[in-house]
Symmetry: C2
C-alpha cells in the first residue's frame, strides 16, 4: 500500500481527530453572527445594500491567502463577520438586481437543514426523507402545471434544466444518439425566440448540437417580446428546406428582460404539426425555478416532464453498480439519482417543501399577487413622473423603463439622444453601488439602449421602498 512519505504509523487512532465540543461552540457563535449580521442587517431597510470596495482593496481586507497553519476561534469569527459585512445584501428590501432577491426565514431554515444533513438524494438508502420529499414536491409542481402524471428531477439551475429538456427531446426522437452521438443524426434544429434566455445557446453548444443550430424566431412588435407563431412556422420550413431536422422548440413564459409570454397555444399547434418537442409548455416539459419568484434560495430548479414512461431514466441512466445495485432489499425505483446526468446532487427539494408547509399554497399565491400589486404601483408612478419613460407596458412583473435626465429632455429628436441616454443607466448604477443605497439591473435589448429592469419579487418590499427606488434614480441621475 502506498502512503505519504515519512509518516509511518505515528498517527494515533484512539481518540477522535475532531473536537466536537469546540466545534459546536464555534457553530453557536457563528449562528449568532449570522443572525445579526447576515439575517437582521440583510433585511433591515436602514442598512446599506452593499459596501462597495475595489477588488484590490477587498483582497487586502479579506486576507484571502491560504496558509500552512490554521487560525484561532476569534480570528475565524471575525472572518465570518467580514464575509457578511463586505458581501452584497441580497435579502435587503432594496436589492432588486437579481431574481433571487429577498430572504425568507422558513426557506433559509430549510437550507440550513439541507446543509446539516449533507447527503445526496440519489438513493433512498442515504436520503430516504429527501427522496420522498422530492417526489412530493415534483408531483405538486406538475399538478400546478396541469399534469396528473409525469416525471421530473431537480437540476443545478435553470440553464441545466433547459439542457435536460434538449437532451431528452433528442433522445426521444433518436434513442440511438445516446450511444452513437450526433454523427448519424440529421443536423438538428432548435427554436427559441429572440428574447429567450442565453442558456439555450449555451446548452446547444454543450450538447454538441451547436449554437448555429439554435434558430431565434422573431418577436412581435405589438406585444413586444413574444414569439410570432407564423415566424416559427416559416423558420421551420426554411430550416427543413436547408436539410436540417427540426427537433425542439423552447417557448418562454416570462422572458429574462421584458417578461414576455410566448403564445403557448399557437406555438403548440405549430409543434404538433411538425412533431416537435415543446419545452415550457402544456405539451412536453417545463423548467421551473422556485429560487426566483418563490424566494426559496439558490438553487432550486425543477425540470418537469409530462412523460411517465421512464424517458428520463432511459435517457440519462447508466446504472452504476456501486451505487444503484439492483439487489437491494427495498424498492429501487426510489433510487432516482440515475435520472440525472449528475452523480451526487444537492437536495434542493427540502427548502421548498418546508417553505410550502409554512405558508401553504395560499401563502405562495399571495406573494405572487403582492408582486403584481407592486408592479402595478410602480407602473402608475413611472407614468406619472416626469423624466421616466416606459419601454413597454409590462405583461408580467418586469417593469422596463428609462430615466431621462433634465439635460436630455426635449431632445428626443436629436441624433445623439439615444447614444447619450444609453450611458445614463450605467452611470446611475455606479452611483447607487458606491452609495450602497440599492441595486437594480440594466441592459440594452435589440435596438434599445440601456434601460432599467425592475422586478419586485420580495414581499418585504413596501410602498415606501418603491417610492425610494424611483426617487433615488431621479436623484442620482439628475445631473447627468
Amino acid at each position: 500500500m502506498a502512503e505519504p512519505s515519512g509518516i509511518g504509523d505515528s498517527i494515533p487512532l484512539d481518540d477522535p481527530g475532531l473536537d466536537n465540543t469546540a466545534g459546536e461552540e464555534f457553530l453557536q457563535e457563528v449562528f449568532q453572527i449570522l443572525l445579526e449580521e447576515g439575517v437582521r442587517k440583510s433585511t433591515d431597510v436602514t442598512q446599506k445594500v452593499c459596501d462597495w470596495k475595489e477588488p484590490l482593496e477587498l483582497r487586502e481586507l479579506l486576507d484571502l491567502e491560504l496558509r500552512s497553519d490554521g487560525e484561532g476561534r476569534e480570528r475565524l469569527l471575525q472572518r465570518c463577520r467580514d464575509v457578511l459585512r463586505l458581501s452584497v445584501r441580497t435579502g435587503h428590501p432594496r436589492f432588486f438586481n437579481q431574481l433571487f432577491s429577498g430572504l425568507d426565514h422558513h426557506a433559509l431554515a430549510g437550507r440550513f437543514l439541507t446543509e446539516t444533513l449533507n447527503t445526496s438524494p440519489y438513493t433512498y438508502e442515504v436520503a430516504p426523507v429527501l427522496v420522498l420529499m422530492e417526489e412530493q414536491v415534483l408531483a405538486k409542481l406538475r399538478e400546478l402545471v396541469g399534469w396528473s402524471s409525469g416525471d421530473g428531477i431537480f437540476a443545478p439551475g435553470g440553464s441545466m434544466s433547459n439542457m435536460l429538456a434538449m437532451n431528452v427531446a433528442r433522445f426521444r426522437r433518436f434513442p440511438e444518439s445516446r450511444s452513437r452521438g450526433n454523427w448519424d443524426l440529421p443536423r438538428l434544429a432548435l427554436f427559441a425566440s429572440q428574447e429567450s434566455h442565453y442558456s439555450i445557446q449555451k446548452g446547444a453548444a454543450f450538447l454538441g448540437i451547436g449554437m448555429d443550430n439554435v434558430h431565434l424566431v422573431r418577436t412581435d412588435e405589438r406585444w413586444v417580446g413574444k414569439m410570432i407563431p407564423e415566424e416559427l412556422e416559416k423558420e421551420i420550413q426554411r430550416v427543413k428546406a436547408e436539410g436540417s431536422e427540426p427537433l425542439f422548440v423552447c417557448a418562454t413564459s416570462g422572458t429574462t428582460v421584458l417578461g414576455a409570454f410566448d403564445p403557448l397555444d399557437a406555438i403548440a399547434d405549430v409543434c404538433a404539426r411538425h412533431g416537435l418537442w415543446l419545452h415550457v409548455d402544456v405539451t412536453d416539459s417545463v423548467t421551473w425555478n422556485p429560487h426566483k419568484l418563490l424566494m426559496v434560495g439558490l438553487q432550486c430548479s425543477a425540470f418537469l416532464l409530462r412523460d411517465s414512461s421512464g424517458l428520463l431514466q432511459r435517457c440519462h441512466g447508466v446504472g452504476a453498480s456501486y451505487l444503484f445495485q439492483r439487489d437491494k432489499f427495498y424498492d429501487v425505483s426510489l433510487d432516482t439519482g440515475d435520472k440525472s446526468p449528475q452523480c451526487g446532487r444537492r437536495a434542493d427539494g427540502l427548502k421548498l417543501w418546508i417553505l410550502w408547509k409554512a405558508v401553504g399554497s395560499r401563502g405562495l399565491g399571495r406573494r405572487v399577487e403582492r408582486a403584481f400589486a407592486a408592479t402595478r404601483y410602480l407602473l402608475e408612478q413611472v407614468k406619472r413622473r416626469e423624466g421616466f419613460q416606459l419601454v413597454m407596458e409590462p405583461e408580467f412583473l418586469n417593469l422596463c423603463f428609462w430615466f431621462i435626465p433634465p439635460s436630455l429632455r426635449g431632445q428626443e429628436s436629436s441624433p445623439e439622444f439615444w447614444d447619450k441616454l444609453g450611458k445614463v443607466a450605467p452611470a446611475i448604477k455606479e452611483k447607487m453601488i458606491r452609495r450602497g443605497s440599492m441595486m437594480v439591473g440594466y441592459q440594452p435589448q435589440g435596438s434599445r439602449v440601456n434601460f432599467f429592469r425592475q422586478i419586485v419579487t420580495n414581499p418585504a418590499v413596501t410602498r415606501q421602498d418603491l417610492d425610494f427606488f424611483l426617487d433615488e434614480i431621479q436623484e442620482l441621475g439628475w445631473d447627468l
Copy 2:
C-alpha cells in the same frame, strides 16, 4: 398588464409582507434543533446511524402533502426535528457508505454562511467576496497540482467537472464545434479505463459524443485497476484505423471502487504522441472534489485547467448583455460566471476557504495522513481475522474485502461458492441498515461478486469504530 384574476389592487403595500421578528425567532429555535438533533446526535457514536423505515411508513410519518394553508410554528419545528431524526446521519463516525461522510463544524459554518448570503458568484457586482475567494481557492488548488498559472471554475459535482473537461478538449481541437455542433467533426473518441467513473459515459451521451465512443481501456491484473498504457496505445491505433479521431483521455487518480491510480506519466507519453487532451493529470485539466476526502460538504467540485489563454471563457461564454454588461465601472474580468455552462451557480468556494483558514494546509494534510493510518490499521485486522478476505492490496484508501460466513468457509472450490458469497454483502447490508448500527457500500466489480468497499475519510473515526466495523460485519454475517 395581465394580472391574476379577482385580485384588483386590494393588496396593501404599506407594510412588509414578511414578519422579520417572527422569522428570526423561528431561525433561533431551528438552530437549536439543528445543533442538538442534526450536529450533536449525528456525530455521537452512541446514536444509530439511521432509523430505517419502509417508504410507505415514512411517507405517512412525514405527512408530506402540500396544502393550501400554512402551518404554525410548533408544527414546523416538529417537522424539522422529524426530518433530522428520520434521515441518515452522514456525519456519524460509523457512516461509511459514501465518500462525503463526516461532519466538519468549520465547513458547516461556511455552508451556513453561503446559504445566508444567497448569491451567485457569476459577477463581482453581486458576489464580490465570493468571486475573490473562488479565485484564491482555485489558485491554491492549482498550486497543489503543480501549476503556477491556469484557470478553473467550481461545478455542481464531479460528473459536471468531467463534462467540462470533455467539452473544453473538444473546443480546443475544434473551435468551430461550438457553433456548428458535432456534424462537421470526425467521429471523436474518448478513452478511460474499465474502472473509471460512470460520469465519463454519462457525459459523452450528454455532450452528443455518444457512449459507444468512450473506449474503456483494459486494466492491469497485477496492479489491479490501473489503466495499461500499452492497451491505451493499442486502442488509439484501433480507433484511428476505424476512422475515428482520438480526442481525450481521462486518467483516474483513485478509481471509484478499488482506489487505483492510473500511471499518469506513461499515459501522458501516449497522449503527447497522439496530441490528446489528458484530464486528471499533469498536462491539461483536473477534476478535484473537496467534498469527499476534505469533508467540505456537498457540493464542492473544482475543475482546474492548466490553460491560461481564456479557453474556458471562449468555450462557454456567450456574454449575455443583461448580466455581463461590458460598460460596468469595474474590471469585468471578475465576472467569471460566463466561464460556466450554467447561469446562476452556488458559491462553493467559501466553505472550503473557511475550513482551510481554520485548520491550515497542515491540518488538511494531517487528515489525509490519518485516513491512511486508518486504512493501514483495517488492512492488518482484515488480514488477521478469520473469514475476511482481501480483494486486493489497497493502493489508496479503498479497502475492498469479502466476509465469508462460517457456512461457506473451506468451500472455495465448490461451483456455487461465488454465487453464494455474492449474496452475503447485500444480506449483511440489509441487517446493518435495519439495525441502524452503521452503513458501508458494496458492489460487484468485473468478474468479482459483491464485496464491501470501506473508505475511512472522517477524522472523527477512532480505532474503536474500526474494530466495531469488523465485529459488526462478523456478527451480522455469522449465520448466513
